[in-house]
Amino acid sequence: MNILYDERVDGPLPSVDKPALLAALREALPDLDILHRSEDLKPYECDGLSAYRTLPLLVALPERLEQVQALLRLCHQRGVPVVARGAGTGLSGGALPLSQGILLVMARFNRILEVNPQGRFARVQPGVRNLAISQAAAPYGLYYAPDPSSQIACSIGGNVAENAGGVHCLKYGLTVHNLLKVDILTVEGECLTLGSDALDSPGFDLLALFTGSEGLLGIVTEVTVKLLPRPQVARVLLASFASVEDAGRAVADIIAAGIIPAGLEMMDNLAIRAAEAFIHAGYPVDAAAILLCELDGVEADVQDDCARVDAVLRQAGAREVRLACDEAERVRFWAGRKNAFPAVGRISPDYYCMDGTIPRRELPRVLAGISQLSETYGLRVANVFHAGDGNMHPLILFDANLPGELERAEALGGRILELCVAVGGSITGEHGVGREKINQMCAQFNSDEITLFHAVKAAFDPRGLLNPGKNIPTLQRCAEFGALHVHHGQLPFPDLERF
């Protein structure tokens, strides 16, 4: 089923008179930068999920809050859909434009308004890059903990919209755990503050509800994040295993020993070889799996924990355990993992990154299932895994130039996510549903649950003008998607075993 907006199953969109809208915007907001020629719109036709592209009707590049407010009011009056975009690094198509909607680019709101070391918070505009916050806090020995791998480029507004994660979530949490306050503009252009400068606020926890709502409930205009003292030291252990089962067991054993690593990452053999060929991190290329275990905190504790983890890893059957001897080696160990995606990009013309989560105990079963699916679909899969928090990133290798390969990769990806749901997991741990996983939402939630999500949306945006078609599928789409599954004859691969 096509992933682009399909009015037949995603609901009708208002037809917008582009010249009239452009004229109205120019009249109301003479100093607002608006792009409208197709060659200017082209760079905005996709976000980080570049396989799917739609030219937006218009692109607005506001610089001031009042411009956003006036634009939202005008769009609300005229019934024009609005898709918000930050840095455009999202991997699920959350900022995929609509041909009948305005793309509202918040990237120019890039000022850090306040870094308060005593209060351990930073107040920033939504277009500020994730890493820029930690850089601004660094002189005070503080940092902002969530570190998605796109942190050099991704914006905090997008992080809030997607509830972004990273490699340190098990210990430090996701975006939702590291926010104090978010100011938003509602679809009607009204200012609403979620959370507060205190640790809680009266009434319902609208901040928790809003975080990860993918631009469907409001537009982020300011974010107050918590800052943490930078840990004194960080050490990393690299362990290699003869089987993924052993590696999976080692992860459980580390947790059972009462240790919460700052990062705990697993890579399978294909990912190890790709990363090693690219980065020369010193990974054992013959290992079935490696674990990277980072421990951070106060020097004395980290030393003790390194010794404990070393013993646990060996007990669990590690063939080899190496402690990075210095900071350079630690960075090198991580470089292999952090560059796993581009490394895979070197051994395959294209790859498709999945984002399912599972209870950790299901790892061997899910990996076996993925390997079987990989064989059935005739596509290789490299597995990179935030093992500490059960977040898998299977990378499906394919060649978009070969007819049918993209479709096969998508179908395989969909099956992997359904497998995650079947073992009690989720279709997305940190990348968001966006447009990419809109069909798989129907596998994770039943129609009553989807209906309740629509009710939440209706409380904030009853006319459905903010980012229509993302995050929550219509019941019509689920009916159609479900039908695909029920009637096996219609499946592209009818002989495929279901899990």
Binding site: Q118, P202, R361, T451, L452, A459
Partner: protein, 348 residues
Amino acid sequence: MTTDLSQQLLEQVSQALRQGTALRIQGGNSKAMLGRPVTGELVDTRWHSGIVSYDPTELVLTARAGTPLREIEATLGEAGQMLPCEPPHLGPEATLGGMVAAGLSGPRRPWAGAVRDYVLGTRLITGHGKHLRFGGEVMKNVAGYDVSRLMAGSFGCLGLLTEVSLKVLPRPRQCLGLRLEMDARQALARLAEWGQQPLPISAASHDGEALHLRLEGGEGSVRSARERLGGEVLDPQYWGDLREQRLAFFTAPATLWRLSLPITCGVLDLPGQQLIDWGGAQRWLKSEAPAATLRALLAEVGGHATAYAPGDDSSAPLDPMTLRYHQALKRQLDPQGIFNPGRLYAHL
């Protein structure tokens, strides 16, 4: 005791929806001093009880809403784990459902997070008479809206919680309380300074005479922090007594207020007795001052106050915009207004 009574609860809700009856959801009734009294047919969740699943290596516990909090804490304790948000029981019968609905967190809150931070998934019976599941038993899950975390602190006004999955953590290897004699102003200044350093502080309170600190972590970090900070060793009972409001401070006759404040706001001159908690971000106040007076003083510093006395003045009022979205959400999730009507606010 393990009983799945979700079918009966669903039937009770369905009947209430058919007849338009208001429901008063109650677990151990240990948080009745918060919010407003509700009139309605009693939904007693205590019989829907029992731990559904717990695997210490997954760091996840799932239990039915009526499960006693003490049973959950005992089970976790046996495996060397804990609820990091240290939820106050405030009564022997406190339940998991009540803990989530009230959303109260204990002394570890500023360092470890609140109840909502540990809610991974919920099952709830909705105002449309459906028994639904949101979130799950995995640490990371961004599919759909985070309905589960929204339930934390909603006082049962948005649906009937039947089951909750929580993230749990290992207990720290070492725990040590310290008492450092200094005044409140000095204590808050020191805390602001220490907060920027990687010290293993997990609770900080000032009782008017001394700063009480709790250090938690590995042997090395606790030992070196103890050497550096000095002071005398504190009876570990202090933190439990603070959490459960058993300290002498709480026995004074005046109304008890919980003040939630920006951590930077310093010493506050308010009518009544104060006890500093959460490293300054939460203050307990015993005061006879009128609610309006206190709220006006708090608004100036960006904080809010909750009275631990049932009535219209208990919950801090919402600004008109925020109230509008609360009402819209209530109308959408509980269109007939059957769940704890008026528990938090008169028209909610």
